[in-house]
């Protein structure tokens, strides 16, 4: 009996992976979540990105990742703290996730973005609004 229950749930988990949103049916009697029996394929880990420095192609630090925005299970922007310019406090810019390259250096993750200081300086700045839990344009 227990076995049937588990099989049914695993099946649901498979559907959930394919199409986000499935799990959050508004009804409170929603389905129980069963942890995954095997890991899906993945290219990288949030732990290798979050709060980590990002360098340009000349190994000069461009900034530090302070957040990653996601929607329906898709990371669609990386918030990069590029420091203060012209005496103003920290400035964050937004970068598409696939524009940052992850490699290894001295057995550690190394993140690279091919951009210039000038481009970053001119880019739209964002700031985290703690009250609204959202990133806002500066």
């Amino acid at each position: 009996m227990n076995r049937t229950f588990l099989v049914a749930l695993s099946f649901c988990a498979a559907i959930v992976i394919a199409q986000p949103v499935c799990a959050q049916t508004a009804a409170p009697d929603s389905k129980l979540s069963v942890p995954m029996e095997a890991l899906p394929r993945y290219g990288s880990l949030v732990s290798a990105w979050y709060k980590k420095p990002v360098y340009d192609t000349n190994e000069k630090k461009v900034g530090v990742i302070t957040d990653m925005l996601f929607s329906g299970g898709e990371v669609n922007a990386i918030m990069l703290d590029v420091g203060g310019f012209l005496g103003i406090g920290a400035k964050h810019v937004a970068i598409p996730a696939n524009d940052i390259t992850v490699t290894e250096k001295n057995n550690k993750t190394w993140l690279t973005i091919n951009t210039t200081k000038d481009i970053v300086k001119k880019a739209t700045g964002y700031k985290y609004d703690a009250k609204e839990h959202a990133w806002k344009q500066m």
Partner: protein, 138 residues
């Protein structure tokens, strides 16, 4: 002249929206321009990473230890440290990102996973391998 570079780069960025374009094998690199506005997003990694996850009865199940994502930016699994809670031994399990619901509580994010201690106990355990930088089943 600089204007030209920026315009060309913005065009490249627009083209880059279908994933994987940024890293072309040919070595022809594209200069990355940060985003002029944020894409639509449902949540931010900072509200998930290292944060506690509760069951529907507000019992703590564990904390998020990592999130796995693919080159195209899709998050495929959330790694949870369920050790030390509910009398379980120290262990990491994987759940689909869509299985976790995010709400607000006392003006802070609140993550809920509808599962049971029994399911967590039976779940496949994973361990982070520092040498390979990967999560492996134990």
């Amino acid at each position: 002249m600089l204007k030209h570079v920026v315009v060309a780069a913005s065009l490249a960025l627009a083209l880059a929206t279908p994933p994987a374009l940024a890293q072309q094998a040919g070595g022809e690199t594209i200069i990355i321009v940060p985003m002029e506005k944020l894409p639509i997003y449902g949540s931010v990694v900072s509200a998930w990473y290292k944060q506690p996850v509760y069951d529907p009865n507000e019992k703590k199940l564990g904390t998020i230890a990592d999130m796995l994502f693919s080159a195209d930016g899709s998050i495929n699994a959330v790694m949870m440290n369920v050790g030390g809670f509910l009398g379980l031994g120290v262990k990491h399990i994987a759940v689909p990102v869509s299985a976790i619901t995010i709400t607000q509580k006392n003006n802070k994010s609140w993550l809920t996973l509808n599962t049971t201690k029994d399911l967590l106990k039976k779940a496949t355990a994973y361990k982070f391998d520092k040498a390979s930088g990967l999560w492996d089943p134990i």
